[in-house]
């Protein structure tokens, strides 16, 4: 509402304020309550046109190398392109798409060999050309180039031999990405990388094939224009793109996106059913009007808002329950406590804050039990490591025990922190929050609750993007408390939850997602070591244990595990994609 909502990072579903979330009761765990909790029926009727009303801007870019956010995946990535690995709606591990199977790991985890399918064709004007391993090599290489501006290559692919340490001015050859023949891709790594060995980080849009012979000319400038001329491998393509340039009839920024069937797509090589004949996406709708149009109309699906506005939510979950589907989003919401700023440089003050916050009341500000499960630690339900961190009950810390807050426990920690009365006696504490609803209400509720231990917030409410890029993610701004934060998975591996947020090596002058500036050498070492582990079960245990211990440090007070509530018109079977934070999956949804 990304989706002001305009920026809904795939994983950072929460990072962007427009995301809200769905159902599930307090302490209800990762499951969901109300609506159709599972994608029980993913077989559908072929044909028809579906319309989506987005309330936020739209996709962020046409360039596959840039796609990262939930709306990008939902509305263009998954319908129009194929990656090495893909995700069926209920998948929690990557499924071979262009790849024939999972990576073959050798050389102590430092060599990954991926065989790819042959015969996958591009859309016009390259309809006679098939996907080669070299096209994926080029696609991954261009993700390191500044003109593409990819946001995750340096997080997941930096251990590939020859990968640049900073964005290159142009697309450059990377020696560790090799394509010895048309159907073989080899990745040579400096160290074993768990998220590559399991295929998780190869199910991201950087592995969407890009034919160098066609795209190189568009990648030459300061800003790549390949997106506007791209060729498609998925079941759909942007309307009119067959000419080699996407016309206005197919895409107008923040206004319209129309997808039609891709004649080059061969269903026999793909797991996606792609029921709809045409997908029309309108941007800029009023969230309440758009939600009502979907529920009252025909052949429509909810757009980029993770939950409908409060005015519609109650109606949806009572009289229109059959039109809703609900799933955990794989994201959470938390307040970040800056450990470099007083009074949160004191662990006992942080614990007091965790104890005093009424997480139940905070959830109420977003819509009540419908929007998610009260959190007891950082890794959300459904993610590897969730159970190891204590599941729904959590690690068992007394300051997290009472979801309604416990002033007595909070004051006991304040006393330990050196405040004999149990009340903070310092000055006002600088806090910056999102000024849009419902994040604004959450921050104001937090402001009231903290008064119980004498903490008075000097609360500044600013636009969502400003909150991040000028305050909370800028260490020199010295913001003590950021109440409106959130994070979400990139895929079903908890590295994407733990490493960015808790590892001290990620503290940077701008765009700093380690907003608490957690920087404990022992934890940093454990987090970094976990990234090299290639066994999935072992990884889950490591990250679960880390979550348990990190929760005890209270760098962040996690108060909600989000759900996603999607919904459609009566004649639509809406299928959510769990990999994509529970957003509607347009290649598995269908008309009834």
């Amino acid at each position: 509402m990304r989706k002001l909502w305009r920026l809904l990072p795939l994983a950072a579903i929460a990072v962007l304020a427009l995301v809200a979330a769905g159902c599930g009761g307090g302490g209800g765990g990762g499951g969901s309550t109300g609506g159709n909790a599972e994608n029980s029926n993913t077989s559908g009727k072929a044909g028809g046109t579906i319309t989506i009303n987005d309330s936020a801007g739209s996709i962020d870019s046409l360039d596959p190398g840039y796609w990262y956010y939930q709306t990008d995946y939902e509305e263009i990535g998954m319908p129009t392109q194929r990656m090495l690995y893909g995700w069926k709606p209920d998948d929690t591990s990557p499924r071979p798409d262009i790849a024939q199977g999972l990576p073959q790991v050798s050389n102590g985890g430092k060599t990954l060999t991926i065989k790819i399918k042959s015969g996958i064709r591009y859309s016009a004007p390259l309809q006679s050309q098939t996907v080669k391993a070299a096209d994926i090599k080029y696609a991954m290489e261009r993700c390191f180039a500044a003109p593409v501006g990819n946001g995750y290559a340096f997080s997941y692919y930096s251990d590939i031999k020859g990968a640049p340490s900073k964005p290159s001015a142009h697309v450059e050859d990377i020696s560790g990405i090799q394509a010895p023949d048309a159907t073989t891709l080899v990745l040579q790594l400096k160290n074993p990388v768990g998220v590559l060995a399991t295929g998780n980080a190869l199910g991201l849009p950087c592995t969407i094939p890009v034919p160098q012979n066609y795209a190189a000319k568009y990648d030459k400038g300061n800003q790549s224009t390949y997106g506007q001329h791209q060729v498609f491998t998925g079941p759909y393509m942007v309307q009119g793109a067959g000419s080699g340039t996407i016309p206005k009839s197919g895409y107008q920024p923040a206004k319209l996106l129309v997808l039609v069937r891709n004649p080059s797509w061969d269903k026999s090589t793909d797991f996606k059913p792609a029921y709809f004949n045409k997908i029309i996406i309108h941007n800029g709708s009023d969230p309440t009007v758009a939600a009502r149009q979907v529920l009252a109309g025909q052949s429509m699906i909810s757009g980029d808002a993770a939950v409908p506005p409060p005015a519609v939510l109650k109606d949806l979950l009572t009289t229109k329950k059959s039109q809703a589907v609900i799933a955990p989003s794989g994201g959470n919401r938390y307040a970040a406590l800056n450990t470099t700023v007083k009074p949160f440089d004191n662990i006992n003050v942080r614990r007091a804050v965790a104890a005093v916050l009424n997480r139940n009341a905070l959830r109420q500000t977003r819509g009540g039990p419908a929007v998610g499960t009260i959190a007891t630690h950082f890794i959300p339900p459904g993610m590897p490591g969730f159970d190891q961190a204590g599941g729904n009950a959590g690690p068992g810390y007394d300051f997290y025990k009472n979801p309604n807050g416990d002033v007595a426990v909070a004051k006991s920690y304040m006393k330990k922190a050196g405040y004999p009365s149990g009340m903070y006696t310092g000055g006002k504490v600088f806090a910056v929050a999102d000024n849009t609803s419902p994040a604004k209400q959450t921050a104001e509720a937090m402001q009231q609750q903290l008064k119980a231990i004498g903490i008075n917030l000097d609360l500044h409410e600013v636009p969502h993007a400003t909150m991040y890029s000028k305050y909370c993610q800028v260490p020199k701004a010295k913001v003590a408390l950021c109440p409106s934060m959130g994070w979400g998975k990139d895929f079903f591996d908890s590295q994407s939850m733990i490493d960015p947020i808790f590892n001290g090596k990620n503290i940077v002058p701008a765009g700093n997602v380690n907003t608490a500036q957690a920087n404990n050498p022992a934890f940093n070492a454990r987090i970094s070591a976990a990234t090299s582990v290639t066994d999935a079960n072992q990884r889950a245990t490591l990250y679960g244990n880390l979550d348990k211990d990190l929760t005890g440090q209270v760098y962040y007070v996690t108060w909600l595990w989000d759900n996603n509530i999607s919904y459609g018109s009566k004649n639509v079977t809406v299928v959510q994609n769990k990999f994509n934070g529970g957003a509607p999956d347009l290649v598995f949804s269908s008309l009834k």
Binding site: Y152, S165, N222, V289, A290, P463, A510, G511
Partner: protein, 320 residues
């Protein structure tokens, strides 16, 4: 008159120059979001942020950025490229301008017809039941927020979510060139919603002016000369009383041509107002500049039109 118009047009250029400079300063002086960071993803590599900053020219001093922007604008009529989608600002604004113009001009026609008619009748039939009801209604019209009125009209009359399904609802706008009939029907609700408060204000304004004018000596003289009452009101009364209406209409239409954000949002009309709103949310400076300059241009242009129109409406006005 020609010299006057040329002189005013030159002032338009100066004003637009000032507006662009002020917008630039405000963007950098106030705590708006960092465009480079916004484009760099959720866990950005610092070098990537710097690379984007360099590509966007944001690593240059503000005056250099402003000089480059103005150079492109003056020499090539180039408004630059959106930080958000790297598509020409000029192209995006001109793509959306017809929708905004359709909304603003159509609404202006509605509010002028209603406002002038009601205002005139109320003035002539002062203290009548019509006058009391109309002026009471006008107060409601002025007080009702356009966003609320838009939602209310959709819930009442839209053919998708309305109780009485009469008019096309939100998102139904099609360009005039594509389907004139659908264009017209899709804009009926937005026109009336946008026009409501203006019509109410104009009716009250005209009523007050006309009552005052109708008590002037020359009106009495006209009546004494035996002119028919209709002619007295239309030729002598309204012509004089309408001058402030022309002023207000010129300014209001100018403002709305720069974008009617709330109406465009409620009815999902892809106009300039919505574009401006999104660009502010995204710290998209080139787009903010483009939409602000467009709005300023229309306001000063309509001011000029109003001033010129005075010369034709009011015989006392002469420009040299």
């Amino acid at each position: 008159m020609s010299a006057y118009i040329i002189r005013r047009l030159l002032w338009v250029i100066v004003l637009l120059f000032l507006v662009s400079a002020i917008t630039f300063v405000i963007f950098f002086a106030l705590p708006s979001a960092d465009p480079a960071q916004l484009r760099a993803g959720r866990q950005p590599n610092p070098a990537l942020v710097e690379a984007i900053r360099h590509r966007l020219g944001l690593d240059k001093p503000i005056y250099v950025q402003y000089y480059r922007y103005m150079k492109g604008l003056v020499l090539h009529f180039d408004f630059g490229y959106s930080y958000q989608n790297n598509i020409s600002v000029k192209q995006q604004i001109f793509d959306r301008l017809p929708a905004t113009a359709s909304l603003a001009i159509g609404a202006a026609v509605v509010w002028l017809i209603i406002g002038i008619s009601v205002g005139t009748i109320s003035a002539i039939k002062r203290r009548s039941m019509f006058d009391r009801v109309a002026m009471g209604g006008a107060l409601v019209g002025i007080s009702a927020p356009v966003y609320w009125l838009g939602l209310l009209s959709l819930y009442l009359f839209a053919n998708d979510i309305g109780i009485i399904k009469i008019f096309p609802g939100s998102g139904s706008y099609v360009p005039l060139s594509q389907d004139p009939s659908k264009w017209f029907t899709s804009l009926i609700l937005p026109w009336f919603v946008l026009a409501a408060s203006f019509a109410a204000f104009y009716a009250r304004l005209l009523r007050g002016n006309l009552i005052e004018v109708m008590s002037e000596d020359y009106i009495r003289t006209a009546r004494a000369k035996g002119l028919r009452e209709r002619r007295v009101v239309l030729r002598h009364g309204i012509r004089s009383a309408i001058t402030p209406i022309v002023t207000a209409a010129g300014l209001d239409i100018g403002i709305l041509l720069g974008g009617a954000i709330l109406t465009e949002s409620v009815f999902n009309i892809p106009g300039v107002g919505r574009l401006a709103f999104d660009s502010i949310q995204n710290s998209d400076l080139p787009m903010i500049q483009g939409t602000v300059l467009l709005g300023a241009f229309f306001i000063v242009l309509m001011n000029l039109v109003v001033d010129v129109a005075y010369a034709f409406i009011d015989p006392r006005v002469r420009y040299s």
